[in-house]
Symmetry: C2
Subunit: 394 residues, 2 copies
């Protein structure tokens, strides 16, 4: 397999003892040249300590490094937690020989336990020494919690003939729901772009990707998406750029990462896109798609490979937007299962059941009321989800 790279960036991932099983739990991304930065953070009213730090620091628009630990969320840890987040960044800055203001931090893991900062302190020199051009795979492993696979995407595109690279790394498998979740995502790119432009592009890409996925309807305290653009390539993008292939490329990277999160969702065995069309507005369509995508009854039926369309209609009916049950059509992929609110019979059901046996499929709900459209990605809800989450801390 080709090694994942991003020009002008180095990365590392090592084990410092935060994870009980001795696996990698401390990661670092470093831009060898100054980079512009933008970020998107959780809307939860309870927020991890690093969020407060990062929100403040990205205001400068500049960043050289991000240090990330797994195994502990450093959330609900009071003033000590904020000091720990600062220290974590400071330790790396000092090893790297850069200003601590240029280092961001992020944490993911159990909430409510103090961050073992001594372990991080001891490991910081080794972490910086481990930095390498091809260190992204190690970094991706170091930020995993209940994830079963690392999640990296790297693509090259061009703008006005100038090649640029976007390399994205994400983690998150539970507490995933619209408006992100226990999700961390770090995007490195060698394009040249202003912090303001990066922020706008990142906001749009987030709307298209991480805000359209749900695993369990729980929104995390630590959700963070950071993009760093170091201009190491000759590609430049700005608000006057026509045919903004950078936005398209960033959407592509982040949608791919979002789908990887769902596929690796806790206990998930299926990736399902819930598509709603014909609503009175896009907002109405989103509310219905979101309600269906979060319904435990719908998701357990997916797990059971049961074309129980009644649960889909019932979920659509409680989304608190106008729905005319007698006009609803429902398709599983291209199989029409419901027409004008009525089931299409045994043959349709048999064909739909076949669709449900696939690892990926789409459910289309056509309301025939207007032009509103939206879609949300979700997964099935399995016995393993409960097992994983009942035992998480033990």
């Amino acid at each position: 397999m080709k090694k994942i790279l991003c020009p002008g960036f180095k990365a590392a991932g090592i084990a410092c003892g935060l994870k009980k099983n001795g696996e990698k739990d401390l990661g670092l991304i470093f831009s060898t040249v100054p980079a512009n930065v933008a970020g998107v953070f959780t809307k939860n009213r309870v927020q991890g300590a690093h969020i407060l730090l990062d929100r403040e620091r990205i205001k400068s628009g500049l960043c050289r490094a991000v240090v990330v630990n797994s195994g502990n969320a450093n959330c609900c840890t009071g003033k000590q937690g904020i000091n720990d987040a600062k220290n974590m960044a400071m330790l790396c800055a000092s090893e790297l020989g850069i200003s601590e203001e240029l280092v961001l931090a992020a944490s993911t893991g159990v909430i409510g336990e103090p961050l073992p900062i001594e372990k991080i302190k001891k490991a910081s020199p080794g972490l910086v020494k481990a930095l390498a051009d091809e260190g992204f795979d190690d970094f991706a492993k170091a930020i995993m919690t209940t994830d079963t696979v690392p999640k990296i995407v790297s693509i090259q595109r061009d703008i006005k003939g100038k090649i640029f690279t976007i390399t994205g790394i994400a983690k998150g498998a539970g507490m995933i729901c619209p408006n992100m979740a226990t999700m961390l995502c770090f995007i490195c790119t060698d394009i040249k772009a202003s912090p303001q432009f990066l922020q706008k592009t990142l906001n749009d890409a987030t709307k298209q990707s991480f805000n359209r996925i749900t695993i369990d309807g729980d929104m995390s305290t630590n959700d963070t998406v950071i993009i760093m653009a170091n201009g190491a390539s000759e590609a430049v993008v700005q608000s006057s750029t026509k045919n903004n292939s950078f936005q398209k490329a960033l959407n592509e990277v982040m949608i791919t990462l979002a789908k990887k999160l769902i596929k690796d969702g806790e206990g998930a065995t299926k990736l399902v896109e819930i598509v709603v069309k014909g609503a009175l507005s896009d907002t109405d369509a989103y509310k219905i798609a979101d309600t269906v995508a979060n319904s435990n009854l719908v998701k357990t039926a997916f797990f059971g490979e049961d074309a129980n369309w009644g649960r889909i209609v019932a979920a659509a009916g409680r989304a608190d937007v106008p729905v005319n049950p007698d006009k609803i059509d429902i398709f599983f992929d291209d199989i029409m299962m419901v027409k004008n609110g009525l089931g299409c019979g045994k043959a349709a059901e048999a064909a739909s059941t076949k669709v449900l046996k696939k690892p990926e499929f789409a459910v289309l709900i056509d309301l025939h009321q207007g032009k509103g459209f939206s879609s949300v990605f979700t997964c099935d809800f399995s016995i393993d989800y409960v097992k994983i989450n009942a035992d998480y801390r033990s």
Copy 2:
């Protein structure tokens, strides 16, 4: 065990072949004298056929009988469904020799399959013949779906020295969430009360009971609560009545039934009350209690008997109401686990874990922001919930 009765009422429950396993699936309650009636129905935009019929018929304020089937929800069944609901009522009316306008219907079970009305037709004479003063137990069995136990409560209280009886029967184990669910509840009482007064009393009792419980956050299409008051006792209640012991008694019956639903929730092993105090308003307190009570991560932690208070704080933080994380206290029963947003340490955790091993306990979240108070009943989220709902139709 004492037989359940309600003066002036007869009930029955028989098997007519709707349930594959041959168990009771058709029930009837009959008031031997004219009764006043009131009802509360689902707010889902998709509604079972019987809801349309019953809403219309209770406008008269009068009712003599309710016929109920399980095994089929008669929902998403179009015009045929409405005809079937009418026929179901008409068949009983004709056997009972009363006007069909005085008979209500209710259905519960799988959505989207036509009601096998022929089976009900064939069974109706036998159903009416089976009516008996002590038939409530059979009725309670006949309306069960995934319920594992019948749910009946009967109490006697007095108003101005005159004894009255309230007998309530409910069913529902999944699709249970605030604003009711796949829940049916029938209340018989021999008190004398106007339909308007019954409606007001029923609305208040519903707010105190079925609108404060959640099993899986899914709201059903068929939720129905019907109260019939036949005045067979000498007790009378009206809006001018002081010390309305009827409201208290009705609250008691409905709260007891609501808790029975939770205890028998699909896969549930624990009944948990989520209490929120110190919010800026009662509405804010309710939103937080509701969000925590519906969090899959919180509920799986209850199942795992894990005092994972971080998930509770995280859920509280996404309820979209003002929360100051640094002020939050959390108790498991009388054990303080969190003070000012910080965990109280290993001893508190050990004591909390003991509380979580109990079949019933309370979680108190004190926000220290104001006087808002609310509480919601929920259950844990177990492996069996997924098993039950993945296989429901197979």
